[in-house]
């Protein structure tokens, strides 16, 4: 009988992130589909509340907790994950592809003598075997894969299942893990304030800003100050997340005018992020497939562009507004109040 281990880590407040709860739904379905047994492992400073929040899944719960496990750190997270996987004899390990686990869990596959596949976009059972789905070449193509090596460590991207709901009172088997030899100390986090934050993974809307915002406008002049104000006003009014095309990020290295709050972390597309949002509005974007993959996972898409034939728009979005984004977005902001 397959033993499926669901691994999660707590957030700063001791809870589990939505993506972790989605992964539990997928792990539970996998265990049921394989006719196997589900186990749960939780890592964090204090895992009690998180364990209670998933107690309804009916699985045995293992915990590794304490101050050493409060922060994301490769060596301590890996040691904790190894302890849980070994304790429960996991054949398949399923975990959310958070930055914390994306850092640590590939190493778990080596420690356990297994294999790893990451950033899955789907997980199912076919002919009694787990079948994983993931993207290749930066979201350009999607494949399905199987393998017989065990243990098999899998990390899942968000959005592939409904978040698990089933709180209760959990009994946690606490595991002791020695991490006294770890040479890394976490000094802290640098988080933008709520007012300054422009990357919001949980936002409903993604605004994509393209290079057109920094190009000469109809009057022959560049209006980056106006562009910045317009974009920020929209973000503040809608609490949207901001993405940018590669070209807009790259011009910072070419000595051209830049939008001051855009960094490489905003970049979506071929060498950037592929965020998941319910709606996406692209403005002043141009370019073909490599950039457009940046909104592969945006459900409803609209675009504003002066070029009706723009590759970002035709066939890629639901509605294209052919016009000046400066004028249209200014009016949008006025209407949003």
């Amino acid at each position: 009988m397959s033993k499926v281990l669901y691994l999660a880590h707590t957030e700063c407040d001791g809870t589990l992130h939505k993506s972790a709860l989605e992964t539990l739904t997928a792990a539970k379905a996998l265990a049921e589909g394989l006719g196997g047994e589900l186990a749960v492992g939780i890592i964090g400073a204090d895992v009690a509340a998180a364990a209670d929040s998933v107690a309804g899944c009916g699985a045995k719960i293992y915990g590794v907790s304490g101050p050493d496990f409060a922060d994301a750190r490769y060596a301590s997270d890996l040691a904790a994950a190894e302890a849980v996987a070994t304790a429960c004899g996991a054949e398949i390990v399923v975990a959310p592809a958070t930055s914390r686990f994306s850092r640590a869990l590939p190493g778990l596959a080596v420690r356990l003598g297994g294999r790893v596949d990451t950033h899955l976009s789907g997980l199912a059972v076919a002919d009694g075997q787990p079948v994983a789905r993931r993207w290749f070449y930066r979201q350009r193509m999607e494949g399905t894969l199987t393998r017989s090596e065990r243990p098999w460590v899998l990390t899942l991207d968000s959005g592939i299942a409904e978040p698990f709901a089933g709180a209760g009172s959990a009994e946690v088997e606490a595991l002791t893990v020695d991490v006294s030899g770890v040479r890394t100390k976490v000094a802290g986090l640098e988080c933008p304030s709520e007012d300054q934050q422009t990357i919001r993974p949980d936002a409903r809307v993604l605004l994509v800003a393209g290079a057109g915002w920094t190009k000469k406008q109809a009057d022959g002049a560049v209006h980056v100050d106006v562009a910045e104000e317009t974009i920020l006003n929209f973000l503040n009014a809608t609490k949207s997340s901001l993405g940018s095309s590669k070209s807009l990020v790259d011009i910072s290295g070419e000595g051209n005018a830049v939008i001051s709050f855009l960094t490489h972390m905003h970049q979506v597309g071929q060498t950037g992020a592929s965020p998941r949002h319910a709606k996406g509005l692209s403005t002043c974007c141009h370019g073909e497939e490599p950039h457009v993959v940046g909104w592969r996972f945006i459900s409803e898409r609209r675009a504003i562009n002066t070029d009706a034939g723009c590759g970002w728009a035709q066939g890629k979005c639901d509605v294209l507004y052919v016009g000046d984004a400066f004028e249209i977005m200014k009016k949008v902001n006025e209407m949003l109040g």
């Binding site: 060596a75 090596e149 770890v182 933008p192 972390m265 905003h266 509005l281």
Partner: protein
Amino acid sequence: MSEFHIVVCGSIVPDPLQTLAPVEAPTGWSLKNEMMLPAVLDPWAGHALYEAANLAKKHPGSRVWLVSLAPKAKLQQVMMAVSQKAPFELVVADGSASGFTDSHETARVLAETIKGIAGLETSKMLLFGGWQSASRGSGAVMQMVGEMLGVSEQFQGVDKLTVHDDGAIEVKERIEGGSYQNSLVDGAPAVFGWATGELPEPPNNPQIGMQNMQKNMPALMQAKPADLSGTTMKLASVAVPQQRRETRVVKDAPVDEMAREIVEWLKS
């Protein structure tokens, strides 16, 4: 002042502007006309290489190796350009750079290749690479190479690295929501999967290019074939999404009308 032995893992990927299509052959999945596609150094591995060269410059006595698993003929073409960017010693494993290979096998070949580098001192080793490739995009290879080499101080999504006078290394890693995590490791050995870093692409320097290629051509010629066959991974299907949306084009409409429609959509 610390002296580092910096090993950069980096391979080649198709130029991002190319149209990519998967094809299935008896040997497995590959890209259509893969050997004909123009290739570039994997972007995040490129950032790792430039950061490595910069760090080595600041720390006299340091050395930089670029370890690459790639078809050597294709790699040679890419190296003609990359060699002009920064000084490094090339170490080649001649094998597939495909995104469809098993990340574990890629890691194993890289780890074995690194173990064979003459003069590499593990106690001084900083293992660099991209935090993800633009081919497989697993974000898993560097961690596995590190584990296989016994290095368990690891960082991913690195944008900045500062070496203190006592040899401790301050690291800035990307995490969710545009935030960073800052950490301090007491020194080498350690693994760093780079994101974009902070350096622009260096300008071409033909003199460095000549020096590099004199050293590195023999490495290309002598590259040993890499065996990536130790996997049971089977790709049942690979496909480019064909979904094409019916785009409604709103043209010649007043700005107010377009804005109103957008606002209604945003609020719905």
